[in-house]
Symmetry: C2
Subunit: 326 residues, 2 copies
């Protein structure tokens, strides 16, 4: 009985949609003796009824990108005090409403940065050196019958413009320096103590870059930042890599540019309306897709679990959040 | 008449098979006013007759890997004085016979090393992070219908064993250090002033590595160096990347290990019997192929042309070879 009553007092943490990490690692992903998980996605109840039934008991949410924490959701949870995202980005959380209500917010911190940076570089090499295209070429038995190899372009001395030199962007820069690339960056402000050329104007950076790598967060200032003018400045041989958020690029315009050869290629991990991807690009040899999996490694997901659990346990022990946003 | 007679005195340089670089760049690849090219592959004559007809006039050969310079070929060219390969490796040239005849040999030097190193890293990222597999996953419209993403493994902290720390191997090491990998190497001798752990025994290195990257030259000591024991030591999660020569690996054994899950994956640019590749691996998601194109970039081929022409012009001006082998 004692155990049962102490269990009843554990803070209850809502999860609306199963995070990818939980699909891979199972419930062990966020196992803790200090809080209890409420999995809406496993309930036979429709979500509104599930929430109505449990609303008073929910004091925290674990929020994957696919399950936005809207003002509407927040309003029906009177005792909500903490939101922890399973992503670095928090654009799917209504921060204004959270601030108004005094709800704390933590994100995944920089636990993903290395893996995302690795994927960004992997996609860039793939597009410039045509790794996926070469793989298809061999598997389609074109070698050497069809003599025109997928000829790549040298990575060394390429001018790479990094959009957003935060935790991910700076790791992309370090990696690409080792390949002999020339790094420049754009961001809200010039960074002190950074050896790379700074561009205040992103169109100007695009015009002098062989590739742009999008690593910034999505917010009202970066929404469709990569528009027609930027893509046009990037030019026919220019490559774009996006490991940030789909909506930072004007996707419709990018699709047109790729189809009409107005830019040189793309490596895309994120899309405007996931999981819908622009299928009209599937036939293009110079476009490489991944399913928003830049952050997805077994080791990275295990690390993420520790960060999520650590934030929740810290919060309910009145300790500082590990990776606070609000 | 003066022009014609001076033309007749130009050294004649034989090319038996069209180098890939010439297929891409055209004859401009090795254009020079100081020597004349004899393209056997464009002649209507069968090769033996072509050679019999021109044998006395040939004083140099440009030798791609696909056209070995055998003792038999050398014997029918009494005035041959120089062989220039279009590759870094010279295993397709009978060096013993060249030495006996006093024939000079030059290779492509290190003009390819950066591009080959870039491909090695690209293949490694592709296998660990499943870039090609993710691309297929999206294009086959499995996202998110079929929920099991191709989950990758983190590159950081991976223990990478580099087989042969020469021009290519050391560039692979520099690049992978930037990803936070732990580098070790094996080679004939321990290198002075190198910060990486040295293994004299390759099987021991395989046993303590998450991946082996083959960067050494092919010679009698490295032929099938990566045998059953080494592959077995590498183990179920171990990855192998080969950008050197196919015959350094016991290919039949590697194919068996991959099919039976005894090693974790492979990124293969080279094969034992090119252009024949082990097609029984095509269905495996964890194997990435490229058609001996690790060195192939537009910029690299242009650079190669300069090195080949530079060697031939230097030789016939009695100057030192740019990239001498013999």
């Amino acid at each position: 009985m004692a155990t049962s009553s102490s269990t009843e007092k554990l803070p209850r943490v809502l999860i609306v949609k199963r995070p990818d990490a939980m699909a891979v690692l199972g419930d062990g992903f966020v196992a803790s003796t200090k809080f209890e998980i409420l999995k809406a996605f496993e309930s036979p109840l429709p979500l509104p009824e599930f929430l109505a039934y449990h609303s008073d008991s929910i004091s925290a949410i674990i929020a994957p990108v696919a399950a936005p924490v809207t003002a509407d959701l927040i309003r029906i949870l009177p005792n909500l005090r903490l939101v922890v995202t399973t992503s670095a980005g928090v654009d799917h959380v209504d921060l204004v409403e959270c601030r108004r209500r005094g709800i704390s917010v933590a994100n995944a911190g920089s636990s993903f940065s290395e893996d995302v940076a690795d994927t960004a570089v992997g996609l860039l090499i793939d597009v410039f050196r045509r790794i996926s295209a070469a793989n298809r070429f061999v598997k389609q038995r074109f070698w050497p019958v069809k003599g025109d190899y997928p000829l790549g372009s040298k990575l060394g001395r390429k001018r790479i413009g990094i959009v957003g030199l935060g935790s991910i962007g700076s790791k992309v820069a370090t990696r690409l320096e080792a390949f002999g690339c020339q790094i420049s960056y754009s961001s809200r402000n010039r960074k002190p103590c950074v050896p790379y050329h700074y561009y205040m104007d992103i169109e100007e950076m695009a015009a002098t870059s062989d590739a742009l790598i999008i690593c910034c967060e999505l917010n009202e200032k970066t929404l469709r930042l990569i528009n027609k003018d930027v893509l046009s400045a990037l030019g026919k041989r220019g490559v774009i890599v996006n490991v940030a958020r789909g909506a930072i690029i004007d996707e419709e315009e990018m699709v047109r540019c790729l189809r009409e050869g107005e830019i040189g290629g793309a490596g895309l991990d994120v899309f405007e309306d996931e999981p819908n991807v622009p299928k009209e690009l599937f036939e293009l040899d110079n476009v490489v897709f991944s399913p928003h999996s830049a952050f997805m490694t077994l080791e990275g997901l295990e690390e993420l679990g520790k960060v999520v659990v650590g934030n929740i346990e810290a919060f309910f022990s009145n300790k500082p959040l590990l990776t606070p946003v609000l």
